[in-house]
Symmetry: C2
Subunit: 418 residues, 2 copies
């Protein structure tokens, strides 16, 4: 990669919700940039907010030792560190053709000029791609020569144009593994019981679908899986549970946090605000709402488990496939920038399924931003209460492989900027 | 171990809540028994219930191949399988001197005679030790020659007479690791926010205390840790949070599910279910209750995370120390039985802290059952809102070491009886 050319300096930032793999992508960008040696790579603290308040960090310096060698150990540590090491933000830029937003863009260009920044890498989800699209529009409009690349990241796997997203595989591995462990845990008693596992995913059910992967491995999977792609029916749910309880005492179901009734009402309303779709006072999300409903309508032992933050920050259970692809996506972004690609998002393209092989590509970000990629219809069964084998086989490769983290004092070692 | 003598046959069962290490102890008992070759080892399906309904499994046969060799691979798989492979129960035996309970004991003795069972291993927590104590009392009363050994197991670490319990180390490693990952996840935004991590522990706060271990490793730990050993004050809690928020925006606290006010009222309201068979009040929702209170009284962003079942069944993150000690405790139980010990519970005795070294011992179960071992006063700070360095150093060795599980299809392989 010594022949790549980056004009001026470059900057990289992270935005949106943390994942266990977003720092692997950052490590990929840093690694790619350090190999070309010419330009300096800056990091934004807390995404675009760091540009707006001139809070940058010189990453080229941070990851190079006094002899000019790359600090490979630190990069490796960074690649396995959860969350977003540079910090994140949830800053939606004003419309780029809106005069009221002009000041924001002028401030950004001022900082770019100050540090001679001509290349911009933004690692994030849908909203981050929106930032890349708007900055592309604006820099072109004012004629500031700029290369802008979006690098995908989301545990939701809901970005268009890419087979799957960096960060999804590790979250999916956590979901598949922990759901399996919960199934074992719930199997110890003979008393009829329902366990509801609530998994992240407001609009798209990809991560929840991962709970079913075990079925094509050795038959161990939840009895039912409910995604936001299908309308949820309380009557249908109770019928499903009764049918399962008639066969075995320990019923486990996986649900997406975003499941909703046919009229769009979320099964779980926002915490703390009024009754949910079923008139229960809310103490939690969809899982808690269903827990109360099962207790009331079936009357058996019932428990709900919200996998919560650990599913997106569980770095102790990374998918090796995900981390490797996340690194490659980051390095690929540097290559693409050097080739003059701009206004595009990096993609992971599945070349073959068996053996599993992917290539890193890129697509115009404007066609990707602000859209949602839903779970394919072919991956959801006809009854809308489970994942098809085709769905499991599509998902399975992205959770393959283990990463052995360095531990100290019994807990994993992670990287932190001072 | 070829010179040990077990009279008649033996039986082993698991009882109480599952843990990630209870099957390691079972594997230790099976391994110890198979080495002595003479007696048959039976397993109770679902604890003492399996005896009462004559639902036993021949473990000697199951773990021996056609050539008479021990199935070491299956035993290794069993040792890393979460929950309770034989199934569990929550059956409280009637008082052994109560005539009304006579029938139950007569039934048990009938099954013992049917299979010539003279040795009884029961792996469990406080309530299981109660079963051992009662059976000891009854068999002695009726003159049935029986060797009875309790083998401890609980993630709560609240059994008297032992330095710590098998199962605790793995749960503590999960709590320490996931809390660390949550701290990283919460650090990405600059908006003031409080995150409340709710950890299992009704009466004793050992597992919650494990969240603090990182502080003596590299300074990364929750801002505060609240245990049921100290009365909880809502005013004190809000003062603590305000002080922390004045220093940094991302405040993380760990709480035990069983924290309560000075008058004994649980911070989390009862979840609508009455006391269980052992008189425990069903708790839930301390984290949610505090989340609401923080939102109301401080008004910042706030989130609560219940670590829930994964903390006790997270076999993908076992403590090697815990698994090794659990195996040794199981094997030690067989040795103790062969030496004529009866009516005693196996113990883990800490011989030295640095280097960490333990020995397996035993103590009369009557002195242990139905008591609770609370967190030592020296391990809780004066303000009652954190763990002392001494506490962290006591806890640290039990989470040391990693176990590399076999994986297939991206998920861990576990053992199941057919």
């Amino acid at each position: 990669m010594n022949n790549i050319i980056i004009h001026g300096n470059a900057i990289v930032g992270q935005s949106g919700g943390p994942t266990a793999a977003i720092n692997a992508t950052l490590a990929g960008v840093i690694s790619g940039m350090l190999k070309q040696k010419k330009s300096t790579l800056y990091g934004m603290r807390n995404g675009i907010d760091g540009v707006l308040c001139d809070h940058l960090i010189n990453l080229s310096e941070t990851f190079t030792d006094e002899n000019g060698s790359i600090r490979e150990d630190d990069l490796a540590l960074l690649a396995h560190t959860p969350a977003a090491a540079l910090g994140s933000c949830r800053h939606k830029l004003p419309a780029a053709d809106d005069l009221a937003g002009e000041q924001t863009y002028e401030k950004i260009i001022e900082i770019f000029k100050k540090y001679d920044i001509r290349t911009f890498f933004y690692i994030g989800g849908n909203d981050s791609m929106d930032t890349v699209a708007k900055l592309s529009f604006y820099t072109e409009k004012v004629g500031y020569p700029m290369t802008l690349i979006g690098v995908p990241k989301t545990i939701d796997n809901d970005l268009m144009g890419t087979d799957h997203t960096p960060g999804f595989g590790s979250a999916a591995k956590f979901v598949a593994t922990v759901t399996r462990e919960i199934i074992f845990d719930c199997a110890v008693y003979t008393v009829p019981a329902v366990t509801i596992v609530e998994i992240m995913g407001r609009d798209a059910g990809w991560l929840t679908a991962a709970a079913a992967i075990g079925r094509v491995v050795d038959g161990i999977a939840p009895d039912y899986v409910y995604l936001p792609e299908r309308d949820f029916s309380m009557e249908g749910f109770m019928d499903d549970l009764r049918a399962a309880l008639a066969k075995h005492p320990n019923v486990v179901v996986a649900i997406s946090e975003g499941i909703h009734l046919a009229d769009g009402t979320p099964v779980g309303a926002a915490s703390g605000v009024g009754p949910d779709a079923f008139g229960h006072v809310q103490l939690g999300g969809a899982g808690k709402a269903l827990e109360y409903a099962v207790r009331e309508q079936i009357g058996c032992k019932v428990r709900s488990i919200e996998l919560n933050l650990p599913q997106r920050c569980g770095a102790h259970l990374l998918s090796a496939t995900d981390i490797e692809e996340s690194l490659r996506t980051g390095e690929g972004a540097v290559m693409a920038a050097a080739q003059g690609v701009s206004g595009e998002m990096m993609t992971i393209d599945r070349v073959s399924n068996a053996p599993y092989r992917t290539e890193i590509g890129h697509k115009p970000v404007a066609a990707i931003a602000n859209q949602v990629r839903y779970v394919d219809a072919a991956y959801i069964n006809e009854a809308g209460n489970n994942i098809t084998d085709a769905g499991c086989h599509y998902l399975a490769p992205v959770i393959e492989g283990k990463i052995s983290l360095p531990y100290a004092g019994g807990v994993p070692k992670f990287y932190r900027f001072d």
